[in-house]
């Protein structure tokens, strides 16, 4: 399970379907669709809580183990978790370390926004203009496999070390999964849906907007999710390489000034931030693709 398009479209690139096209499977049963009975919704809710407890207990147990195992630690590198949490409260809740979050999030938002919108737009363009797609395909693959951090020195040379540089490197690195998934998803649209569009009299432009785009959306969203991970990674890496602010900068300077506890707090905050962004993404995905999960569930029930 996990592939949103039943008809696997021909791979966009000579190299075949790249790993980024895999769609993460929904972690639970899709929400009750439309007019399902209230009783059933409550039941599903209960089940979800039980399921959540099912996977949360392990995380809770791990934290507990960390807490007690590190309680008497005198190592400078592994301070007790209690100390870390205390410091986290001092620095990030009451202190002013949280001001480091604003620039990071700004870079992330701008870079990811450009990557997402640009990826979909360019992907649609490449889908629509076949000669362009065929001639650029080797280049795209080349860019996709190139590790973006390797470009950092070049980007710094070009843009300096300010916001522009970070937004540029984040968007450059994060655009590929969305772009390639958009092309692939649009090429894989069920031909019956396209025949239907022609039979109903839809113009090519309207077909692209009203049929091809929504039909490819599950795979486009999968690409956006991959881009999200890449954008977070590049946000941190760019701040660690050349920066005077941001959470990556905070973690690195804490480590360099031997404030190991502070460093740990930065890492935890980053993990929480990444999880929060992922959760927001998943919630948005559930909303936008409700029809997709609903249709798939209905299909499964029937066959």
């Amino acid at each position: 399970m996990g592939d949103p398009t039943p008809a696997a479209g021909p791979a966009v690139l000579a190299g075949g379907r790249h790993p980024a096209t895999a769609v993460p499977a929904p972690s639970g049963p899709p929400g009750p669709s439309g007019r399902a009975g209230a009783g059933r919704a409550v039941l599903a809710g209960c089940r979800r809580v039980v399921a959540a407890a099912g996977w949360l207990w392990f995380a809770i147990a791990l934290v507990a183990v960390w807490w007690f195992a590190s309680a008497d630690s005198t190592s400078a590198y592994f301070p007790p978790l209690r100390t870390i949490v205390h410091r986290l409260y001092e620095l990030w809740i009451v202190g002013d370390a949280k001001s480091q979050l604003a620039p990071s999030l700004e870079h992330f938002a701008a870079g990811y926004g450009i990557a997402g919108a640009g990826g979909i737009a360019l992907g649609a363009l490449l889908w629509g203009v076949r000669p362009l797609r065929e001639s650029t395909s080797p280049l795209l693959y080349f860019c996709y496999v190139l590790p973006a951090p390797a470009l950092l020195p070049a980007v710094i040379t070009l843009f300096g070390i300010d916001t522009t540089m970070k937004v540029a490197i984040i968007s450059f690195a994060a655009v590929w999964p969305t772009l390639l998934n958009t092309v692939d998803g649009m090429r894989g649209v069920d031909p019956v849906k396209l025949d239907t569009a022609r039979a109903l009299g839809l113009s090519p432009l309207r077909t692209a907007g009203s049929v091809v785009l929504p039909a490819a959306l599950p795979q486009i969203v999968a690409g956006l999710r991959n881009s999200l991970q890449v954008a977070i990674i590049l946000m941190v890496v760019s701040e660690m390489t050349a920066s005077t602010s941001g959470i990556g900068y905070f973690i690195l300077t804490a480590q360099q000034s031997l404030a190991i506890t502070d460093m740990w707090t930065g890492i935890i905050v980053l993990a929480v931030l990444g999880s929060a962004l992922n959760l927001v993404f998943v919630a948005a995905e559930r909303f936008v693709l409700a029809w997709h999960y609903g249709a798939r569930a209905a299909e499964g029930k029937r066959s």
Partner: protein
Amino acid sequence: MTVQPEGTVSVGRADPPGNSGTPDIPANPGTAEAAGAPVLSVRGLRKVYPLGGRTERVAVADVSFEVARGEFVCVVGPSGAGKTTLLRCMSGLLTPTAGQALVEGQPLRRVPAQVGVVFQDYGRSLYPWLTVNRNVALPLKVRGMDRADRAERIADVLASVGLHDVGRRYPWQLSGGMQQRVAIARTLAYRPALLFMDEPFASVDAQTRFDLEDLILRVRERFAVTVVFVTHDIDEAVYLADRVVVLSGSPSTVREVVPVPLPAARDQRGTRALPEFLALRRRLLELVTSR
């Protein structure tokens, strides 16, 4: 092998005894042609698929027939006879290799605005991201109908296929039979003069199939639409049609065009028990299975 033209043109409107199903509607405004002129005219149609290299597959060898205004014509043939290919060529979805199909005298470059197509696989033809209402609204939007008229038209056409209170639901929340009704309603919404149906009831259960067959006969009467209905089911063809075009096996040609002189008012139990029905059925079965 071609069909003798006199056998086809004449059968059209005048022939069947008491075929009250389609009253002689005034010829479409805009077509100055006489009411007897064929709505669809297929001439020497041939479709060859290249298979790469020098090999090719002849899906449709040579097919000619005509359909008069208001007629219900079924196309039957053994499986793999290129029925779907033929339908795609006749509706303008596919360009034939040779010959042509004319709709109201016009050669096809794309699917004409007055043509509707209902596909076999409603699950793939309906758009799952749109509600039933929005699915039906799509061709109306394309034709520039304003919002209020659309709402009225959608409610009316859904009611005419026996659907009520499903407009805000999604197609995948409905049963297979209801989904195909939505697909039919979406096509009828823009009032096509000519309706192509490609084995539309092949993927529903038997009871639903009977219901849908009767539905399409009612709909045909109400909307005065000409229907070309492709099926592999001989009983279905005899039950529905005014005439049946029998294709040979692949590569297909027209083996024979069989008129169905059954009374226009048909019902599942009565009509299927008529001796004429059984005789026609036997004859068609012979034609389809003979080599």
